[in-house]
Symmetry: none
Subunit: 213 residues, 4 copies
DNA sequence: TATGAATGAGTGTTCATTCAT
DNA sequence: AATGAATGAACACTCATTCAT
C-alpha cells in the first residue's frame, strides 16, 4: 500500500497499474492479488487508510464544546499540515473518482462504518454545529455543502497533481484553496455574521512544520 | 457526433472508445477516422459544438447594459432550459477532463478563439461586471470563481451521469445545482448586498418546456 | 505521377500512401485508381518513366565505337548531372525494393521490353564492351556486376534519402558514390590496366549545372 | 526469438508482425510483450544474438599476428560455414534496415558496446590491418568498404530470401557472393599485389558440414 | 470520367486478472 | 504463502482497395 501511494503521488491514480505497484513493492503480481483481490479493493484500502489517518488527525485537534466555525478552521489547519506532511489528503481526493464511481460521495452515506464515511461525517457535523451555533444559515443543506467542499478540494488536488510534486504545496496552490474555502463559508454564513470571522488562518501557522522538511 | 454524444451521455466520456462509437454509428472504424482524424479531434468537436450552442443561447438572452448579477441569473435560466433540452451542457461539463487534461479550464485562456473559451469568457465577464456593479467584492478573483462554478457544475453533471438518464433533469438534481450556484454568489457578494437579490429564479420558469417532453 | 514522385522524394517510398498522393494531386482516390489500378502499378509506372528518362539521357551522350570504359564514365557523368537535376535516378533506386520485390533486378531479365530493363541492359552492355575491349577481366560476370552497381547506388540513395533533401547532392554523398564506383571498376579491371584510367571525372564537371540552382 | 527468426527467415523482416510471432510461438500477444517490451526490442535482441554468435565464431578462427587478408579469408570461410549452419548472418543482414533505419551501419559507430558494433568493427579492423600490411591501397576508406561489403552481402541475402529456403545455400548463391567479395578485394588491393592472393577459398572447404544436413 | 464515402483486416501496445506450480 | 508466466480483450490508429453514384 505504501508503494501504491508513492506511485499515485508521483504519477496520479490513472497512470498507476497493478504491474507498477507489484514491481515497486518487489512483489509478484500473484502475491499482490493475494492481499488485494483487485485493483479497486487495493485502492479502496488506500483511501480508507488515508481517510482514517486524516480523520484521526483532525479529531485529535478538536475539543469538546468547540464551535462549528472553530472546528472548520482547525480542519483547515489540519489540512494544511497534512497536505505538507503525509499527503494522505492528496491521495484521498485524487482517488475520489476511482473510489466511488457510482455517485462520488453522495452514496457514501450508505457506506456508514467506513473511514471514508467518518471523514465525510466529520465535516458534516462541523457544518451542522455551525448551523446550531447560528454561524450558518438555518436552511443550509450540510450534505450538499460537504460535497461542495470535497469537490472543490478534489479539483484543486487534481490540478495540483499535474504540477511537479514539489510545487504542490506551494503558497499559490494553498492560497487558492483557502480562497475557495472562504467563499463557501461566506456563502453559507448567516446574515449579519461578521465576515472577518470567516477568514481562515494564514499558512505561516504551519511554517514551523515546513522548516523541518 | 450524434452517436458519440449518445454514448457519452449513456456511459460517460472515459468509457467511450472509438470502436464503440463506430459500432453505434454503424460505421467502420476507417470511416469514423475519415471524418475525425483522432479521438481528441472528435471529442473536441463535440465540446466545441456544445459550447458554441450554449454560448449562443446565453448570449441571445443577454441585453446591453445588463447588470452582472442579472446576466448570471439569465445564465442560470439558460442552463436550466438547455439542460432539459439539448443536453449540450451535460456533454460539455462531462468532457471537461478530456478536453483540458492539463489544468482544466485554467490553461483554457490560451485557447482564445475556441468556442470553449467563449463559454468560459462569458461567465468571467459576468462576474467582472458584477464586481464593477458593486454586487461582488472588489477583490474577487473572477478566474477562480469561474473555475469553481465550472467545477461544481461538472461534478453535478458527473453525479447525474450515474443516474438513470431520465432522472437527470429531475427537480432534485436541478435544485441542488441551484443551491450550489447561490452559495457561490453569496460567497462572493459584497457586504451589505441584500441576500434576496442573490436568489435564482425558480425552476417552474421552465415548467412549460418540461411539459412538452 | 508527378505528385507521387514529389512525395517520394520528400518522404521516401515507404511513407507514401495512396491517400497522400491523391490529396497532393487534388484527385479523388477513386480517380487515382482509375488511372492506376493499384499502388504497385503506379509505382512501376514511375520507375519506368525514370528509367526511360535516364536511359535516354545516357544514350544521348554515347557515340558509336566508344569504349566500354568511356561509356561507363559518361554513365557516371550522366548520373551526376541527373542526380542534381531531375532526381529520376534517386526515385528509381529508392523504389527498387518496391518495384521488384521478387529478386530485385535479378528477375528483371525476364522483363525485357520495359524501360527498367533497358536501364539495366545499358549498363550490362557497357561492361561487356569493356570486356571485349580488354579493359575488364574476361571472366567478369556482367550481370552480377550490374547488380552490384545498382545495389550500391541504391544503398547510397537510401542513405541519402535520410538526409534533408538539399544535402543529398552534397559533395560528400557524391564523392562516396564515386569511390564506390571506382572500387568496382578496379575490382573487375584486367591485370596490367593502368589504374589511373579507371579514375572517374571530377564532379566540378557539373559545376555549371549546380550554379544554376 | 526462435519463432521470430523462423518467420523472418520465411517471409522477411518487414512482413513479420508481433501477431504473427505470437501466433507462431503459440503465445498470446500479452505474453510476447512480457518477454520483449516492444517490436524493436525483440528484433534488436535477435540481431544482437546473431551478431554475437557470428562475431564469436569468426574471432575463434583468428590468431594473433595474422594478416588482414588472411583474416578476411577466414571471415569468408566463417561466413560460408555459418550461412550453411545457423543462418544467423542471414537474419543479421536481413534485419539491417530494421536495426539502423537512419543510415544503416553508418551511425552504428556510436553504438559501441553492442554486438552489432563488434561485428562491424571486426571487419573494419581486418581491412585496416590489410592497409598496414600493404595489401590494400593506403587511401582506402575502411568504413566505406565495410559498408560496401555489408550492403552487398545484405543484398545477396535479400535476394536469397526470395528463393525457396532450401535453395539459399546453393552453390550458385554462395558462388555469387564469393565473386562479389573478390571484386571488392581486388578493387581496394594495392597495385602490384598478385591477384591470385585475393582469391577466396573454395566452398568445398565446407563440404563436410553440408553433408551433415 | 470522376467521385468520395466506406471498408476491414491490420498495426503495435497495454493491463487487470488468473492459475498451475 | 508466494510466484510469475500466461492471458485476451481492449485500445487508438492506418491504409490499400472497392463501389454505388
Amino acid at each position: 500500500m505504501g508503494c501504491a501511494k508513492e506511485l499515485i503521488l508521483e504519477h496520479g491514480v490513472e497512470k498507476v497499474s497493478m504491474d507498477d505497484i507489484a514491481r515497486k513493492a518487489e512483489l509478484s503480481k500473484g502475491t499482490l492479488y493475494l492481499y488485494f483481490s483487485g485493483k479497486d479493493v487495493l485502492f479502496s484500502a488506500i483511501c480508507e487508510e488515508s481517510a482514517a489517518r486524516f480523520s484521526e488527525y483532525v479529531q485529535s485537534r478538536l475539543e469538546d464544546g468547540i464551535s462549528g466555525l472553530e472546528a472548520l478552521k482547525r480542519y483547515w489547519v489540519s489540512y494544511l499540515e497534512t497536505f505538507g506532511e503525509s499527503e494522505d489528503l492528496f491521495i484521498l481526493f485524487n482517488m475520489r473518482h476511482f473510489l466511488a464511481p457510482a455517485g462520488s460521495f453522495i452514496s457514501l452515506e450508505e457506506n456508514a462504518g467506513t473511514a471514508s464515511y467518518v471523514f465525510y461525517y466529520l465535516l458534516k457535523e462541523m457544518i451542522e454545529q455551525g448551523i446550531r451555533d447560528g454561524t450558518f444559515e438555518k436552511d443550509t443543506e450540510s450534505c450538499l455543502v460537504v460535497r461542495i467542499i470535497i469537490t472543490l478540494f478534489s479539483q484543486a488536488v487534481e490540478n495540483a497533481a499535474k504540477l511537479p510534486r514539489t510545487a504542490r504545496k506551494s503558497a499559490l496552490v494553498i492560497d487558492e484553496l483557502k480562497t475557495v474555502f472562504q467563499i463557501i463559508l461566506r456563502g453559507i454564513a448567516r446574515e449579519g455574521i461578521d465576515p472577518s470571522c470567516l477568514i481562515l488562518p494564514e499558512m505561516n501557522v504551519i511554517s514551523k512544520l515546513e522548516k523541518k522538511d
